[in-house]
């Protein structure tokens, strides 16, 4: 075997190497000091105690209460969580109602509907009707909890419309109605305000009579001028 610029290694070189390796193997080396063993043992015991303490702590939390009280505590916690969630949803919905009021966009003070007979005096303006959107939970909280509206459509069919006429109800006009009127027609508004009007869509039949009133979502609330 060639190693650089030296002569090839001979078997004597390897024999000498093996001899020296054997001698080095026999060298009695010092043991690691006993202080290491002591430190490691202390560290191990310390970690064992720490682990045991953490286990005991977790165990104590569940053992402090009598077993018969645990279901009661769980029930009370569940009720409290439910009440909290309901209050949160309710206040959140009320905040949204106030944020949606736009007093500067009043359409008219006196309701006039040209060429259409309506059950109440409402302001009318011809506009393209938009289909009612599905009601999201934050709008739902604005309505009374006693009467649940049709969440998919938010439409109230008028009681005196002829239900036998099923077709031809394609004419829709936009009107603004006071909240009290909407409540009287069956819309379940929770806290109607007198000086607020809501934009609604009036659906007319072929006979010219109003068939239904639909509240487009999200609700558009305007302030009534006095």
């Amino acid at each position: 075997m060639k190693t650089g610029r030296h002569d090839p290694l001979e078997s004597n070189d390897f024999a000498r190497l093996d001899q020296f390796l054997e001698l080095l193997k026999k060298v009695p080396l010092e043991e690691p000091p006993s202080a290491i063993k002591k430190r490691l043992n202390e560290l191990y015991i310390q970690r064992l105690k720490k682990e045991a303490r953490s286990r005991v702590h977790v165990g104590n939390l569940s053992r402090k209460l009598p077993f018969w009280l645990k279901p009661a505590v769980a029930f009370v916690l569940l009720i409290a969580a439910s009440v909290g969630a309901m209050l949160l949803v309710r206040f959140h919905g009320r905040d949204h109602l106030h944020a949606g009021v736009n007093p500067g966009t009043c359409l008219s003070q006196k309701p006039v509907i040209s060429g259409v007979r309506t059950p109440s005096n409402t302001t009318a303006s011809t506009a393209n009707a938009t289909p009612a959107a599905s009601l999201s939970p934050r709008y739902y909280s604005w309505f009374s909890s006693k009467v649940r509206p049709n969440l998919a459509e938010m439409t109230v069919h008028l009681p005196y419309s002829d239900s036998s006429i099923a077709d031809g109800t394609s004419t829709t006009i936009q009107v603004s109605m006071s909240q009290s009127e909407l409540v009287s027609l069956g819309f379940p508004l929770a806290e109607p305000l007198e000086n607020r009007r809501v934009l609604a869509e009036l659906t007319l039949g072929d006979d010219g009579l109003p068939r239904a009133i639909t509240l487009p979502l999200p609700l558009e609330v305007i302030q009534e001028k006095r």
């Binding site: 075997m1 190693t3 650089g4 610029r5 030296h6 002569d7 290694l9 070189d13 390897f14 000498r16 190497l17 020296f20 390796l21 001698l23 080095l24 193997k25 026999k26 060298v27 009695p28 080396l29 010092e30 043991e31 690691p32 000091p33 290491i36 063993k37 430190r39 490691l40 043992n41 560290l43 191990y44 015991i45 970690r47 064992l48 682990e51």
Partner: protein, 217 residues
């Protein structure tokens, strides 16, 4: 052949495997004496390996402690559960950690290597006293000089050659064990061993009192 490489024989290997499994189980079960048993059983092997790898007793002592602290941490953070006695021995596991620490220490290369500490260890257990009693052919001074030259040559080897020499020649590990500890194939171990032996033989020849390499070149 197996006995030649392991120094224990097949029965010893099986005994180690079963006792390793028991000891590992005791460690996982948080037996108070298990960790000390682990230390007592393997401290010598780990310490010796680190002495030959670092060339310093002081560094070897620090690293030996660090090896067992790492095992301790692994024990309490759940990583020790990955140790499988069927795939390797606890000694191999510890030597693997020691090898990584020795490499890290070698990478720092800021510490001074003290060969004197190895050969003239306190308490009269130096190389000269031990060797002189075993072999009457060698004078103490010659022995000390030769062994010191060999140690210097081993420390000058690249780490991947040094690991193989220390494990297979000085620690009497089989190629299979060394391959498992060093995470490479047995063929790689054999190749490194041959190359390391050639390098060591060449260094001994050129640095000895009867050096002829450079004079004849």
């Amino acid at each position: 052949m197996l006995r030649f490489w392991t120094g224990k024989g097949l029965h010893g290997l099986l005994d180690d495997s079963s006792s390793d499994a028991q000891l590992a189980e005791r460690l996982v079960q948080r037996d108070e004496c298990a960790f000390l048993d682990l230390y007592d059983r393997h401290r010598h092997s780990v310490h010796r390996f680190l002495i030959h790898m670092s060339g310093s007793i002081t560094i070897a002592e620090e690293l030996t402690q660090e090896v067992f602290v790492i095992v301790l941490n692994a024990l309490f953070n759940g990583k020790f559960a990955r140790f499988d006695p069927k795939k390797g021995t606890l000694e191999g596991y510890l030597l693997g950690i020691a090898r990584n620490l020795a490499r890290r220490e070698h990478g720092r290369s800021v510490r001074l290597v003290s060969l004197e500490g190895i050969l003239e260890a306190p308490g009269g257990k130096g190389a000269a006293s031990g060797l002189g009693q075993d072999d009457g052919l060698w004078d103490d001074l010659v022995l000390r000089s030769d062994v010191r030259r060999l140690q210097a040559a081993i420390l000058e080897l690249p780490p991947h050659y040094r690991e193989v020499v220390v494990l297979c020649s000085l620690q009497e590990r089989s190629y299979q064990d060394a391959a498992r500890i060093l995470q490479c194939s047995e063929g790689t171990i054999a190749s490194r061993m041959n190359r390391a032996r050639a390098l060591l033989a060449d260094k001994l020849r050129t640095s000895g009192p009867n050096a002829r390499g450079t004079s004849q070149a």
